[in-house]
């Protein structure tokens, strides 16, 4: 192998490594929401990064988050479609994946308020929840979300507006305070 080739491979590895470090956890959380169990979520995310390795860097890097969430989402939806079901993570499982190294009581408190918000999130229609997660958990813009979910930008705006409003209506001020604590 020529040294030039070795260098270019090293760079490629470095690029993928950086993408992995930046997005691995966010993607897994997102896939977990869609798929409901960690093993399948990991499969979907793993597959997404394997696809990424195949992409020309210049084509993808400037829209990396959008690309990753699109591919990951399609992976997850394919799994659901193949299994003939479209369900999402039940609230109790969401609580189970809270960080293990938190102090015990803090974890319980957090879990309680988390589960209130999670319940409210769960009660939303799939497309609203999806848009809220991509916006507020993954930090994607309306335009990026539109491309990931194949919705129009206007629709995304409406989904986020409506989803956020429903959350506020359902939770009231108390639940929100609990989160800040």
């Amino acid at each position: 192998m020529s040294s030039k080739q070795a260098r270019s491979e090293e760079r490629a590895e470095h690029w993928i490594g950086a993408a992995l470090a930046a997005h691995e956890r966010g993607l897994t959380l997102y896939a977990l929401r869609l798929l409901g169990d960690i093993e399948r979520a990991r499969d979907a995310v793993g597959e997404t990064f394997l696809r990424l390795c195949k992409q020309p860097r210049d084509d993808v890097e400037h829209r990396l988050a959008e690309w990753l969430y699109t591919v990951c989402r399609n992976q997850a939806l394919d799994v659901l479609r193949k299994e003939g079901r479209m369900s999402t993570l039940p609230a109790e499982n969401a609580a189970d994946i809270q960080s293990a190294d938190e102090p015990h009581t803090a974890a319980i408190e957090r879990r309680e308020c988390a589960s209130r918000v999670m319940d409210a999130m769960e009660a939303l229609p799939n497309n609203q929840r999806d848009a809220l997660l991509l916006k507020f958990q993954q930090g994607l813009s309306y335009k990026e979300i539109a491309r990931v979910t194949e919705e129009t930008v206007g629709n995304v705006g409406w989904l986020i507006h409506t989803g956020l409003k429903k959350l506020r209506d359902r939770l009231g001020d108390e639940a929100w305070k609990g989160i800040e604590a």
Binding site: C53, V71, N127, S141, W158
Partner: protein, 669 residues
């Protein structure tokens, strides 16, 4: 973003939310800021959205996620080193590869496709299809070609028709079959494969047979712009099963793809292009392609629309692939419409009702809000809904405009006028009012494909099957003109074959669009519509005279070789294409005539559009188990498609290559 109603409370306005989240362009920002200055409620709404967003972000950030396993990370790092090549092909081979993400480039698909085809499709299609048909454990043997032809003849070719896409439960399958006879004797269906008990009952209905040009010089059919069969077939294959033969309507597969034909420059609303080339699956035969391209209508030239959506919200629509997909499809469509267009929404379930009175289409929020309120439940009273929708459409009829009812359903009408016959008659009567019909099919399981196709056919309309948002985008955004704007109606094609040049011929597909020869000039006989920018493609397989060939399935005649020819027959023409159409609001048809000669070019010299159409037709015939394909393999079909993808705007042809690849995987399993 579109206009909002001035009386909307700022807290209910998505624009205000978008502003608070920093999602607006500068010009839009200024408008909201003006509003905030004038209305303290707007300022308060912005502050509230920001607070809620911050809290939600904080909460979601507190969720910690487990990442990948070390083994997974190692694999990815390994793949990064070798550019992913080995790994991707490996995934492909494992059968888990499903589809290339929307973001992946066409070039990549073609590249992988080429690799895959070399490796995988070695088995001849005939053997494979025959093996698929033989039922293991029932003692049935693989039927040879001749035996299949004879059983097809025994069942009259068309007697046993499986209509639509059976669900993977045997009870609903029998229900979905339209069988003129006893349903009990036809075995069962598992996992999408038709397993027969006798080895013959599910023998496929072969496509149109070869006809002798001397006996039957005229071939007449109605154009078909439906595309539902392709997306339905794709859904079957991506769900991991091969579709039943009768879910495959070859002309709908071919017409799913846009073709690059030149538009009309004369007085007619569409242009007709006829090309003759070698037939790829039988090189001694000729392939005739009739291509029709409807006039394009740009945004400014679009007629105002009066659209009445008739949405099925019955219990059977309560499925992620139905109602939610429907809502999102409607959202996309609404975004394409403007202030001159009107949208109304009627629903039907147990009872029919109007949930949105005709509303200017630029009031998107009102439309989206009405959609969001919809919930599925109750049984389906289709007829009452249809009555209501046509009534609303007629009341708000726009003269010279596009008046259309858009029926969105899984077709499972089960209350009221449910019998196919009376529903069809109802639609037929309604169609006379000048209101066109679009049928959008949703969902799986109890999709009543045949019923929906028939409704669209009789209702001066078209039928598309929506299996994904991508498909919704194709039908309702990219091809909105073709779907919603009729430029010619009752379009009929009649081809006269010159018996001095043509021994025999076969129309590929269009089996349920055939017309009697005398219906061609009969303006009271309904036929298909062409939409703006639409392309329609029909293929004939022709057996030329003088090659010492027999017409397959028909022996030589003892007393005659040909009818007595006219002088024109000696001009060397192969055939004569005639088309008739009416203007969208006209009653009298116009005739177009195109004489066609054969320059003798081979298949590989033909233009890419013809070659691609031929590959799709061959794929359809392969899925149907057609006996006309000879020893053609999926591998060859893939090659023809690969070499004719052209520019592929929209990437649909790349998607077809994936579908072939997935079919290859299924064949292996």
């Amino acid at each position: 973003m579109s206009t909002r109603r001035e009386d909307t409370h700022p807290a209910d306005d998505p624009i205000v939310t978008a502003y608070a989240l920093g999602e607006l362009e500068e010009s839009e920002r200024a408008a909201v800021e003006t509003r905030m200055a004038a209305d303290p409620r707007a300022a308060q709404a912005v502050a509230e959205v920001r607070r809620a967003a911050e809290q939600l972000e904080e909460h979601l950030a507190a969720q910690s996620a487990p990442g990948l396993t070390d083994a997974q990370r190692e694999r990815i790092e390994g793949a990064a080193r070798d550019g992913g090549q080995r790994v991707i092909v490996g995934r492909f081979g494992s059968g888990r590869w499903k589809r290339v993400a929307a973001a992946a480039s066409v070039v990549m698909v073609v590249g992988i496709g080429a690799l895959l085809f070399q490796r995988r499709f070695a088995a001849p299609g005939e053997e494979w299809l025959a093996a698929r048909r033989a039922s293991p454990g029932s003692g049935a043997v693989t039927l040879g070609r001749a035996e299949r032809a004879s059983t097809a003849a025994r069942y009259g070719g068309r007697t046993l028709t499986t209509k639509g896409a059976p669900a993977p439960s045997s009870e609903s399958i029998i229900g979905a079959f339209s069988v003129e006879g006893e349903a009990e004797s036809f075995g069962h269906v598992t996992d999408g494969l038709v397993d027969d008990l006798s080895g013959e009952a599910y023998d496929p209905i072969d496509g149109n047979p070869f006809l002798r040009a001397g006996d039957a010089p005229l071939s007449t059919f109605s154009v078909d712009v439906d595309t539902a069969s392709y997306s339905n077939v794709r859904r079957w294959i991506s769900d991991g099963s091969l579709p039943p033969a009768d879910a495959v309507r070859v002309e709908e597969l071919v017409n799913y793809f846009p073709y690059d034909y030149a538009g009309p420059d004369g007085p007619h609303p569409f242009a007709t292009h006829v090309e003759v080339a070698g037939c790829p699956w039988e090189p001694r035969h000729r392939l005739v392609r009739i291509g029709i391209k409807g006039r394009e209508i740009d945004e400014a030239g679009r007629k105002p629309s009066n659209l009445v959506f008739l949405l099925d919200v019955s219990g059977s629509m309560n499925d992620p692939r139905k109602l939610p997909l429907l809502k999102s499809a409607m959202g996309m469509l609404t975004e394409q419409l403007g202030a001159n267009d009107r949208v109304a929404i009627a629903v039907y379930a147990g009872a029919a009702g109007l949930v949105l009175v005709p509303t200017p289409a630029d009031n998107r929020w009102a439309i989206l809000e009405a959609l969001e309120r919809l919930e599925a439940g109750g049984s389906t009273a289709g007829a009452a809904g249809i009555e209501l929708a046509y009534e609303v459409a007629r009341e708000h009829f726009i003269v010279g405009g596009n008046n259309r009812v858009i029926l969105c359903t899984d077709g499972d009408f089960n209350v009221g006028v449910a019998a196919d016959g009376s529903l069809v008659r109802l639609i037929e009567k309604k169609a006379q009012s000048g209101v066109f019909l679009t049928v959008l099919g949703f969902g799986t399981g109890n999709l009543k494909d045949a019923k929906m196709e028939k409704l669209a056919d009789k209702g001066n309309g078209n039928y598309a099957y929506i299996d994904s948002r991508l498909e919704a985008r194709k039908v309702l955004v990219e091809q909105m003109g073709a779907t919603l704007e009729t430029i010619a109606k009752d379009v009929k094609v009649q081809v006269e074959f010159n018996p001095l040049a043509v021994e025999g011929y076969r129309l590929i597909g269009y089996e349920n669009r055939l017309l009697a020869a005398r219906d061609f000039a009969d303006d009271t006989k309904d036929a298909g519509e062409i939409g703006a920018g639409h392309t329609v493609t029909a293929l004939y397989e022709v057996v030329p005279v003088g090659a010492g060939l027999e017409v397959p399935g028909l022996g030589p005649l003892r007393y005659q070789e040909n009818g007595r020819p006219t002088n024109a027959a000696f001009d060397g023409e192969l055939l004569f294409v005639k088309l008739r159409y009416k203007e969208p609001e006209g009653d009298e048809s116009t005739l177009i005539e195109v004489p066609v000669s054969d320059a003798g070019g081979s298949f590989f010299e033909a233009d890419g559009e013809l070659r691609f159409a031929a590959s799709v037709a061959a794929f359809g015939m392969l899925l149907r188990g057609s006996q006309h394909l000879g020893k053609t393999t999926l591998d060859e079909v893939a090659d023809w498609a690969l070499e004719s993808t052209g520019d592929d705007p929209g990437g649909y042809r790349a998607g077809f290559l994936e579908l072939i690849a997935a079919t290859g995987e299924l064949r292996k399993e």
